[in-house]
């Protein structure tokens, strides 16, 4: 599989077909694994790192799920290609900054992606649309079972899988779900949710994981601790919490419709108006407005096909994707904003105006209903 094949066939999670996929965009399971008594990538000298890569890469490529997959050492990728993989959530930002001595192997369906010599010797992740953490775990576990027979894993009787950072030791498991919560943000209940989730040992972060603010009302919920609980316990706890978040989001949307329909329709109408007419739009604004469009589609204000169109725009309006589409190595921020606006306008123009009657019965909307 070539890089072009990879790019033209978007991952399944992007097409968004999974349980609760209106609110849960994707589910991700990541395992951290290392080789016994070998320096971790961050501490290994380049020669040692290359040697370890050589030992691991063939085994990873031999995983049945990796048949016809994509397999590349990072120094063979351009900065733009690496950035594309980051925007597709196939490699981490940290991994994209690596070069010789690191590699990435991605399955043909793009559900499984394995980074070699990231922070740990092996970072394997499965990504599925909707709330499918258990299913993603199964995919990851199969790859893990294949590799554990062939590679001498660093495993400690008490501490479990040993990792470069002590925060990952034990199961080496990070389970996370990306959730779209415009209702809770608009209802100003999001901080409550973030705080209470934080209290039970789970983390809530912005769209791209560590150290980024939440854009487009997208949040990532994940486990914080990896030692002292089984993989199943960690995943079940997360699933339970996410199911509650889904319920809160649904309630928030319902309440907004009942009590603040005009505000809600105003937001959606403005998003539709701006996206359909903008001539230059920055990434942040685009993400936030697309999020509101997505909410509108969820509520039935736009035809069903809008869902996919909006999800695609979330991806294609990001900097590296724009650059790739334009086939230019460097675009100025202004050029990018213009291109992004062109792309969004073309798509949004094809979407009919929001059908307010779908959500607000005649004579009972349009701002006449007051907040109570």
């Amino acid at each position: 599989m070539t890089f072009d094949d990879l790019v033209t066939h978007a991952g399944q999670w992007l097409r968004g077909d999974g349980p609760h996929d209106k609110i849960v965009v994707s589910s991700r399971i990541r395992f951290a694994r290392n080789l016994k008594d070998r320096p971790f990538p961050g501490w290994a000298k380049k020669a040692e790192r290359l040697k370890i890569l050589g030992e691991i890469q063939d085994q990873v490529a031999a995983i049945p799920a990796m048949d016809n997959g994509y397999n590349a050492p990072l120094q063979d990728l351009t900065a733009l290609q690496k950035q594309i993989l980051v925007e597709r959530h196939l490699v981490s930002r940290e991994h994209a900054s690596k070069s010789a001595g690191s590699a990435v192997v991605i399955s043909h369906d793009q559900q499984l992606s394995i980074m070699i010599n990231e922070e740990d010797h092996l970072r394997m992740q499965s990504l599925l649309p909707g709330l499918q953490l258990r299913e993603a775990y199964k995919i990851n576990n199969e790859a893990d079972l294949f590799l554990e027979d062939r590679l001498p894993y660093a495993f400690h009787a008490d501490l479990g899988y040993l990792t470069a950072c002590p925060t990952n030791v034990g199961t080496g498991l990070r389970a996370s779900a990306m959730v779209h919560l415009p209702g809770l943000v608009l209802a100003e209940q999001i901080n409550q949710i973030v705080n209470s989730v934080g209290k039970i040992g789970l983390a809530v972060r912005g769209l791209y994981g560590e150290g980024t603010e939440a854009l487009g009302n997208l949040f990532q919920v994940s486990n914080q601790t990896t030692l002292g609980e089984t993989e199943e316990e960690i995943i079940e706890r997360l699933v339970k919490v996410i199911e509650q978040i889904i319920e809160h989001e649904q309630n928030a949307r319902q309440t907004l419709l009942e009590r603040r329909a005009n505000m809600l329709l105003d937001q959606i109408g403005r998003a539709y108006g701006i996206l359909g007419n903008a001539r230059a739009i920055a990434s942040k604004e685009a993400l936030n407005l697309l999020s509101v469009m997505k909410l509108g589609a969820d509520l039935g204000l736009f035809p069903e096909s809008t869902q996919l169109a909006v999800d695609e725009l979330f991806m294609t309006t990001q900097p590296a994707h724009l650059q790739l589409a334009e086939k230019k190595e460097k675009l100025s921020p202004e050029e990018r904003d213009t291109l992004r606006a062109d792309l969004v306008r073309a798509k949004v123009k094809k979407i009919p105006e929001p059908d307010i009657a779908k959500v607000v019965p005649a004579g009972n909307g349009n701002g006449k209903k007051k907040d109570k």
């Binding site: 501490w43 495993f155 501490l159 899988y161 002590p166 034990g170």
Partner: protein
């Protein structure tokens, strides 16, 4: 009593550790204790260091060379700089300091999740060896030498398999 690690020298350092109500005892000779970081004062300073209580001065004033991982050459100073360890063996080298750090980070100190199938067989064998060794000591104490000989053979056989 012989050292549990090298089985050569007399044990002079007796270590008792209680984790989650389970008591573990280890008897070490001076050399092995040093190697495991038990007798190294910086080994204990590390706990503070890891917890960010600023114990670096203690190391400097102590005038002792920083503890170093025998496998990868990583030191506590490196850990303080990067927040990452050097290799899997560092978890043993810096075990004392890490235990405190991990306690603050995680739900427990004992992995309860899955493990590589190969290793789970090995661990089962190692557990069996341990329990046979207890039986062996009992047999010797009670002067049941025939039992002791049988147990010794079984232990040797298992240890041979473990090394394979």
């Amino acid at each position: 009593m012989l050292c549990d690690v090298c089985q050569k020298n007399d044990a002079t350092v007796y270590l008792t550790q209680i984790v989650e109500g389970k008591m573990q005892k280890v008897n070490l000779c001076e050399d092995c204790a040093k190697e495991k970081g038990v007798s190294d004062p910086t080994g204990f300073a590390m706990a503070d260091l890891l917890l960010g209580l600023g114990a670096t001065q203690q190391i400097e004033h102590g005038g002792q060379p920083a503890q170093k991982c025998p496998v990868c050459g990583f030191t506590q100073i490196d850990f303080k700089k990067t927040g990452r360890l050097g290799c899997s063996a560092c978890y043993d080298t810096f075990a004392d300091g890490l235990a405190n750090l991990l306690k603050g980070m995680h739900k427990g100190l004992k992995h309860t999740g899955k493990m590589p199938a190969k290793l789970s067989r090995r661990f089962a064998m190692a557990d069996r060896v341990k329990s046979l060794e207890t039986d062996l000591k009992k047999a010797v104490k009670n002067e049941k030498y025939e039992d002791a000989a049988r147990l010794r053979d079984e232990i040797q056989k298992l240890e041979h398999e473990l090394q394979a």
